[in-house]
C-alpha cells in the first residue's frame, strides 16, 4: 500500500493545462466514493492523455477502470477532482456536457447498439448531437451525416452491411459498428471500456487493431480498459496500471515488469484473502 502512495505523488504533477496546448484529456486527482457502504472506487488518479496516444488502463476487474472512464464523460459523477478536455474543464452543466460528450466517443463491452435498427442508423446516431432535435422525430439526417456514417463504416470494413439490422451481425462486427458510431462523432478521444471482453481472442485482436489504427491514422486518442496483460503489452503505447482504485503504474509496456504486474494483480489476491 505505501509503495503506490509514493508513485502517486509523481502523478499529481498533472496540473490544469493551458488552452489547446498540451494534452487532449487531463485527469486531475479524480476520486469516486459510493455513498452506500463507503466504497472507494477511485482515489486520486491523475494522468494526461496526449493527442493520438493509445493508452491502456490495465487492472483486475473491480479495480475502478470502468468508473475512471465513466467519470471522464460523466456517465458517472466523480466525487473529487477535475477532468479537462482540450484545456476546458468538463462540468455537469447540460449544454457544456453535451458539447464535451460530442468530442468523446465511447465503446462498450456489450457493444450497446440498438439491435432492432439498421447498422446505418446506429452509426448515424453518433451524429445526433450535431443536429436539432426536430430532425430525430423524423429519423432524418443531412447528406453530410450520411456521408460521414458511410465513411466511418468503410473504415471498420463494414461498408457492405449498411442496411442490415444490427442484431444480424456477429459480436465482432457489432463492436466495429459501435466503433463506427463513435467515429461518426468526429471525436478527439475514444473511451473503450473492456471492448474485447465479450469476444474470442482472434476477433478481439481484430477489434483492437482497428482501435489502434484509429489512434495512429486519425490522431484520435484512445483510452482503452483491458484486463488481459498480453493484449495490453501488444497494443498499448502507454499503460496505466490500476488497482483498488489507485494508479500504481504509468509508463510504456517495456517498463511493465513482472514485479509491477504482481502489484497490479497480486494486491487483489491479498484483498480477496481478507
Amino acid at each position: 500500500m505505501n509503495m503506490n502512495v509514493e508513485i502517486d505523488h509523481r502523478a499529481t504533477k498533472a496540473t490544469a493545462p493551458e488552452l489547446n496546448a498540451g494534452p487532449v484529456v487531463s485527469i486531475v486527482n479524480i476520486g469516486k466514493t459510493y455513498a452506500r457502504g463507503n466504497l472507494v472506487a477511485l482515489s486520486d488518479v491523475s494522468f494526461d492523455v496526449g493527442r493520438g496516444e493509445f493508452i491502456v488502463i490495465l487492472g483486475p476487474s473491480g479495480a475502478g477502470k470502468s468508473t475512471l472512464l465513466r467519470c471522464i464523460n460523466r456517465l458517472a459523477e466523480p466525487t473529487k477532482g477535475r477532468i479537462y478536455l482540450n484545456g476546458k474543464e468538463i462540468t455537469d452543466r447540460r449544454r457544456e456536457l453535451r458539447d464535451a460528450r460530442r468530442q468523446i466517443g465511447m465503446v462498450f463491452q456489450q457493444f450497446n447498439l440498438v439491435t432492432r435498427l439498421s447498422v446505418l442508423l446506429n452509426v448515424l446516431s453518433g451524429r445526433l448531437s450535431y443536429r436539432p432535435t426536430w430532425r430525430s422525430f423524423f429519423y432524418s439526417f443531412t447528406r453530410e451525416d450520411r456521408a460521414i456514417a458511410l465513411e466511418c463504416l468503410e473504415m471498420v470494413g463494414l461498408g457492405h452491411k449498411v442496411f442490415q439490422r444490427a442484431d444480424t451481425l456477429s459480436g465482432g462486427e457489432q463492436q466495429r459498428v459501435a466503433i463506427a458510431r463513435a467515429l461518426a462523432q468526429r471525436p478527439n478521444v475514444i473511451l473503450a471500456d473492456e471492448p474485447v471482453a465479450s469476444l474470442d481472442p482472434k476477433i478481439a485482436r481484430q477489434v483492437l487493431k482497428y482501435l489502434k489504427e484509429i489512434s495512429q491514422r486519425l490522431g484520435i486518442s484512445v483510452i482503452c480498459n483491458l484486463h488481459q496483460v498480453d493484449f495490453a503489452r501488444e497494443y498499448a503505447e502507454r499503460i496505466v496500471g490500476l488497482c483498488q482504485g489507485q494508479k500504481i503504474f504509468d509508463g510504456p509496456p517495456s517498463e511493465l515488469t513482472d514485479d509491477i504486474l504482481n502489484k497490479i494483480y497480486g494486491m487483489r489476491a491479498e484483498a480477496d484473502g481478507d
Binding site: A100, G105, V114, L128
Partner: protein
C-alpha cells in the same frame, strides 16, 4: 458457495401460526362472499323459476330476421371506425404520458406523478361513463364514441407503454447519452425502436377490445351497430336482434383473427 437446489431444505415447514393464519383467511373470505351474496339478493331459486321466461325470450329470437341487415353496413363500418380512431387517440394520449410516467426515463418526480395520476383517472373511469359525458358535450353519433374510447384506452395504453419502457435495455440509452444526444433524441433512437413491437401489439389488441366496446357504446347513443341493436330490442323485434347479434359475433371474430395474425407477424 454452492447454489441451493434442495428447496425442501430451505423452505421451513409451516408453523402452527401459519396454519391458523391461513384458516382465518379462509373464514374471512367465506364470510365476505356470504355477505355480498346477501347484498345481491342472489337467489338460485329465482333463477330456476325464471328459466321458462328466459326460454320464451330466446324462442322469440328465432329464426333470425335477416331483413335487419338492410342498412346495417354503415353502422358496422362506423363501429370499426370508432374502434380505430379510439385506438389512435389512445396512443396519442398514452405515448407521451407513458414516457413521462416510466421510472427509468428520469422525469422530475412531480411530472412523473402527475402523468401517473392522469393515466389512473383516464383508466379508472369506464369508457361508458366517458361516452355519456362526450355525448352530452358533442352530441349523438360516432365521434363521442371514438373520444370516449380514446380517453379511456389512452389511460390503459399509457400504463402499458410505461411498463414496456421500464423493461427496455438501458445499455443503448447510455451509449446514446455518451454521444451527446439529448433526452428526446435518446428516446427516439434508443427507446422507441426497442418498444415499437410491443406498442404495435398492444394497439392491435386494444383495437380488438375497442370493436367489442364500441358495440356497447352504440347503445347509449354513441353511434355504430350497438345503436341498431338496442333499437330492435326497444321495438321487441327479437328476431332482428338475433340477426344483428350474429353480425356482431362475426365481426368480432374476424377482427380478432386478423389482429392475432398481424400481431404474430410483427412481434419478432
Amino acid at each position: 458457495m454452492s447454489r441451493v437446489t434442495d428447496y425442501a431444505a430451505v423452505q421451513p415447514a409451516p408453523t402452527l401460526a401459519d396454519r391458523a393464519k391461513f384458516l382465518a383467511f379462509l373464514l374471512i373470505a367465506a364470510a365476505f362472499l356470504g355477505w355480498s351474496a346477501n347484498a345481491l339478493e342472489l337467489s338460485p331459486g329465482e333463477l330456476i323459476h325464471s328459466m321458462p321466461v328466459i326460454g320464451r325470450y330466446l324462442a322469440r329470437m328465432f329464426p333470425p330476421d335477416w331483413s335487419a341487415l338492410q342498412g346495417l353496413w354503415d353502422p358496422t363500418v362506423d363501429t370499426i371506425c370508432i374502434a380505430l380512431w379510439g385506438t389512435v387517440i389512445a396512443s396519442i394520449i398514452g405515448l407521451p404520458l407513458g414516457i413521462l410516467a416510466a421510472k427509468n426515463m428520469n422525469s422530475p418526480a412531480v411530472v412523473r406523478l402527475t402523468s401517473l395520476t392522469i393515466l389512473n383517472v383516464l383508466r379508472s373511469i369506464s369508457e361508458l361513463i366517458w361516452a355519456i359525458f362526450f355525448v352530452a358535450a358533442v352530441g349523438l353519433g360516432p365521434f363521442p364514441g371514438a373520444l370516449a374510447l380514446g380517453v379511456n384506452f389512452g389511460g390503459i395504453l399509457g400504463r402499458l407503454y410505461a411498463e414496456a419502457i421500464e423493461n427496455v435495455d438501458q445499455k443503448p440509452l447510455e451509449a446514446l447519452r455518451a454521444t451527446g444526444a439529448n433526452h428526446l433524441q435518446t428516446i427516439m433512437f434508443a427507446v422507441l425502436p426497442q418498444v415499437l413491437p410491443q406498442i404495435v401489439s398492444y394497439n392491435l389488441y386494444w383495437f380488438e377490445v375497442g370493436v367489442r366496446s364500441a358495440t356497447v357504446l352504440g347503445m347509449i347513443g354513441a353511434g355504430g351497430i350497438g345503436f341498431e341493436l338496442v333499437t330492435t330490442i326497444r321495438l321487441y323485434d327479437f328476431r332482428q336482434t338475433s340477426a344483428i347479434l350474429i353480425v356482431i359475433l362475426l365481426l368480432v371474430t374476424v377482427i380478432d383473427r386478423v389482429s392475432a395474425i398481424l400481431r404474430r407477424a410483427i412481434v419478432k
